[in-house]
């Protein structure tokens, strides 16, 4: 009978451990919420496979530069609408210490590569196939754009649609001055 109690207690403890592990790994997703409140927060670390070519690209490798992170997907119509503007601004700020990084969210590699070719996207893009990094950022759809300063902190604004007017460049200027 004692053995049975030990087994039952062990099972309960194992289930509790699983629950704690699950909750601990769901603690992300606050970045967008906090930035929308005007706060500056540490950017989640990630290393993702490049959408074109081979190997991975980590956010840490871009430290020291302002990083404009744009979440996109090949089937996203607003992404297509904003792509020309993103390309133009990326080229304009390329020699000012600003790097654009596309994060392709829940997408297949073939259509994603076709999108990048079709829209002449020159800046790097990585694949977040299961949407895990989008989850850490608190992304709820595409497109969404974040600005990360030279110290790896996400600064406001957080743009949740194709940028209107000067919003994209205003975000870059703020990140450069942070």
């Amino acid at each position: 009978m004692r053995a049975l109690r030990i087994i039952v207690a062990g099972c309960v403890l194992a289930l509790l451990g699983l629950l704690v592990w699950d909750v601990a790994h769901r603690s992300g997703g606050k970045v967008a919420r906090d930035v929308d409140k005007g706060e500056i927060v540490k950017a989640p670390a990630f290393s993702l496979p490049r959408t074109t070519g081979s190997g991975k690209l980590s956010l840490a490798s871009l430290r020291g530069k302002v990083v404009v992170v744009n979440f996109w997907a090949s089937d996203c119509v607003p992404c297509k609408q904003e792509q020309r503007q993103l390309n133009t601004v990326a080229a304009k700020y390329a020699d000012k210490g600003v790097v654009f990084l596309g994060i392709d969210e829940i997408d297949l590699n073939g259509p994603a590569r076709a999108y990048l070719r079709h829209y002449h996207v020159r800046y790097p893009s990585v694949s977040d196939g299961d949407g895990a990094i989008a989850g850490l950022f608190g992304v709820t759809g595409t497109p969404e754009t974040f600005f990360i300063d030279r110290r790896g902190q996400v600064v406001p604004p957080h743009i949740v649609a194709p940028p209107q007017g000067d919003a994209l460049e205003a975000g870059i200027r703020r990140a450069l001055n942070a």
Binding site: L4, C11, D75, I106, D107, L108, N109, G129
Partner: protein
């Protein structure tokens, strides 16, 4: 002779059972793969989803089947490189690694429950057996008490 015949029948049955699985692995069908995979954005079986990414997955499966890919290859290419959609596209957990817990816990729970019920039934049956082994008419009385009872009864009779 009988044992040899039984072994032969069992082997034949195992072969018959394994043959469709092997054929399905080498020559998977579109509907079979759509039934075992899940749309990663809407979390419903692929054959019930019409989301953009589900349509992409269906097209990918169709193309890879036409190219002669096996079931495992197609699933692995969706879960891992080049598409990296992750385990979220699997309709059932894998039977290795961390996902094995999803299989072990329910089976372990059933096993522990069965052992518990078995142990309880065994104890209950033993208790009943020991109760039924008592002498007829109840336990033996102390001789002194027996004598006093006899005296009292004699007093009433007298």
């Amino acid at each position: 002779m009988t044992r040899a015949a039984l072994v032969a029948v069992a082997a034949a049955l195992a072969l018959v059972a394994a043959a469709p699985a092997s054929a399905s692995e080498k020559h998977p069908t579109q509907s079979e793969l759509e039934a075992m995979l899940v749309c990663p954005s809407c979390h419903v079986p692929l054959d019930e989803s019409d989301s953009p990414v589900a349509q992409q997955m269906k097209a990918f499966i169709r193309k890879r089947i036409a190219e002669g890919a096996t079931r495992s290859q197609i699933v692995d290419e969706l879960v891992g490189p080049p598409n990296n959609l992750g385990d979220a596209v699997l309709g059932v957990p894998r039977t290795h690694g961390f996902d094995l817990i999803a299989w072990i816990l329910p089976l372990g729970g059933i096993a522990v429950g069965a052992v518990g019920i078995g142990a309880g039934a065994w104890r209950w049956s033993r208790r009943r057996a020991s109760t039924s082994l008592l002498p007829a008419g109840g336990p033996q009385l102390d001789p002194e008490l027996d004598r006093r009872v006899d005296e009292a009864l004699a007093h009433f009779d007298g």
